[in-house]
């Protein structure tokens, strides 16, 4: 089911979610969402608090199971049942709630859950250290030691570590849930640089944020959610920051 987009860019579809529904008890968090990301495309996923952005990407990353709907990855129908499964497909997520263990070292974090081993499951610390530094450098982050604990890093550097992890594991799609939240201006700019670097490496990105000034220069396309519904799906050239802002604050059409 590899579809080509019709807007002239004609890039291959990487992931396509069709009519996704999700309930939390009585809360209808996702009301039949269609969502697509193409190869090396940066999609800005925006919407007000509680719109369902995090829920949507958690379905994609295997954290939540959808109650209804289908997911196609590289044209094949997939049933993403766990985060491990998602990671095997090449979907890496940097969650809004820090996806790092603060008291563990950088290299232990980068390889968390997928440690390279020598024999009998003993970690290959040398290769962990070397590969960590390499991954960090590839996104332009130069840290002193792979043994530094995450707590000692700045917020921007932490996001860098999480993104470097995605890069190292040959992610095809990196999902960033509010990666610039609570960061200083300089740190946020650093994270935006990381995102550009990912795009240059041919990796698709879903970028969730409330800050349109952060997402607008980085993204190719925008998807706007409001209370569990998709109300817009626009190329950058067809919109502006002001338009997007209007869409986000506009009450849902059926109200």
């Amino acid at each position: 089911m590899s579809s080509f987009s019709t807007d002239g860019k004609s890039e291959k579809s990487l992931v396509k979610m069709v009519s996704i529904e999700k309930w939390f008890g009585k809360v209808h968090a996702l009301e039949g969402i269609d969502f697509e990301v193409r190869c090396s495309e940066v999609v800005g996923l925006v919407g007000d608090n509680g719109a369902g952005k995090s829920t949507l990407i958690k379905v994609l990353s295997g954290y939540h199971l959808a109650d209804k709907g289908e997911i196609y990855f590289e044209g094949k129908k997939v049933n993403i049942a766990s985060s491990l499964h998602a990671r095997k497909l090449g979907i890496e997520t940097v969650y809004q709630e820090q996806a790092l263990a603060p008291n563990l070292s950088i290299s232990r974090n980068i390889f968390m859950g997928r440690e390279p081993v020598r024999s009998l499951g003993f970690m290959d610390k040398k290769s962990m250290d070397r590969e960590s530094m390499k991954a960090l450098q590839s996104i332009g982050l130069h840290l002193r030691s792979p043994d530094a604990l995450i707590t000692m890093l700045s917020g921007g550097e932490r996001q860098g570590v999480a993104i470097a992890r995605a890069l190292h594991f040959k992610a095809k799609l990196v999902i960033l849930d509010e990666p610039t939240i609570a960061l200083s201006v300089r740190e946020a700019r650093q994270v935006l640089e990381f995102i550009k670097q990912l795009k240059r490496e041919g990796i698709s990105v879903i970028f969730i944020t409330h800050n349109l000034y952060h997402v607008f220069p980085s993204a190719d396309r925008f998807v706007v959610l409001t209370r569990g519904e998709k109300i817009a799906d626009i190329q950058k050239k067809d919109t502006s920051i002001d338009d997007l802002f209007e869409l986000i604050v506009k009450p849902p059409s059926h109200n």
Binding site: S61, E97, P102
Partner: protein, 345 residues
């Protein structure tokens, strides 16, 4: 120390050696320097202030060496479990329970080696149960294991009627089994010490070098992140509970042999002392922080504190006050040092 060629090319060998030495030091002292220092200070204090310097009397040292591993081995397991973010209060029941199973099997004429494995197996099963109740029931392990502690203690007290059971009738003195568990190497070093060191080394290697160790830290430090990275945190915790149970079972039998008789009150108070040892050793009550070296020194510190105070004729309840004070001081100190470290960034 040998430096390989690659490193030499990159940096002056002196720096490389210093780097390696520092790494090695880090390994053995990771979060344990403070504990080690206090441990040494305590020894000095007790050497000078116990009457007739009784503390360093060879008989006292030997008694300590036989006694300390009981708490120490249990604490290793409890501390590792705490790093994964959970508690186990039931050790003080699992220990005599396993000891009881061992005695019953022995009385039924079953081979002691097999009985030992059965006792450890029962410990592991009780640990498995603790784990399952905690992770499947989504309840705090502090409560879950408080429940199992009281439940199994009740079962044990009723079934054993709290009667002591001497083992000599079923078990010849001086058997090789006994030698391996509680003998003395060269007539000097009690086997218990060797077991303590062996368990510490095994758990240390697993915790610090094996990928499972990384999962334990990750689970305790940030469970959500660990889950998101594909680590089965429920399984990691359950395995840690089983390790605690197995170690408690082993200690139950080891202590039984030393005492020569089963007592339903074996291990009473170990649940809190093991936590105290872990905390004194730098283990965080929130999980994710700690080291086997720290827990090792922590257990020694708690035991020596108790022993020294007894020798100084501090009344029993007074000792409890001192241990309580020590725990609080250590937590305050550790928290302060960690804060300092954070501010240094």
């Amino acid at each position: 120390m040998v430096t390989n060629k690659k490193d030499k090319e990159k940096m002056p060998s002196g720096v490389a050696v210093a780097g390696r030495a520092k790494k090695l030091l880090n390994l053995f002292s990771y979060q344990a320097v403070g504990t080690l220092l206090v441990f040494l200070a305590l020894i000095l204090v007790f050497i000078f202030f116990t009457p007739h310097h009784l503390f360093v009397d060879p008989r006292n040292i030997k008694a300590l060496a036989k006694l300390t591993p009981d708490l120490g081995i249990v604490a290793l397991g409890v501390g590792m479990l705490m790093i994964s973010g959970e508690f186990d209060l039931s050790v003080s029941t699992v220990l005599p329970f396993s000891s009881y199973i061992f005695v019953l099997l022995l009385r039924a004429g079953i081979n002691p080696v097999f009985s030992l494995f059965m006792a450890m197996g029962v410990g592991a099963l009780l640990g498995l149960l603790n784990g399952l109740i905690t992770v499947k029931g989504h309840i705090p392990s502090f409560i879950a294991t408080l429940g199992t502690m009281m439940f199994w203690r009740g079962v044990l007290y009723v079934h054993s009627r709290m009667w002591p059971i001497g083992i000599r009738a079923y078990f010849p003195a001086g058997s090789s089994f006994e030698h391996v568990l509680i003998g003395e190497i060269g007539g000097v070093v009690p086997a218990q010490v060797i077991w303590f060191v062996v368990f510490a080394l095994i758990l240390g290697v697993v915790l610090h070098f094996h990928k499972f160790g990384n999962w334990v830290y990750a689970t305790g430090d940030n469970k959500e992140a660990a889950r998101a990275m594909g680590i089965n945190t429920d399984r990691v915790k359950t395995i840690c509970f089983m390790i605690v149970g197995t170690l408690s079972g082993f200690v139950g039998v080891m202590q039984l042999l030393r005492l020569g008789s089963f007592a339903a009150t074996q291990g009473l108070g170990f649940e809190l002392k093991a936590i105290a040892a872990s905390v004194v050793g730098g283990t965080s009550l929130m999980g994710g922080i700690g080291s086997i070296a720290g827990i090792f020194w922590g257990a020694l510190t708690i035991q020596i504190l108790e022993n020294g105070l007894i020798l100084m004729r501090v009344p029993v309840f007074g000792i409890s006050a001192f241990i309580g004070l020590a725990v609080i001081l250590f937590v305050v100190l550790n928290t302060y040092m960690r804060r300092r470290m954070m501010m240094m960034r």
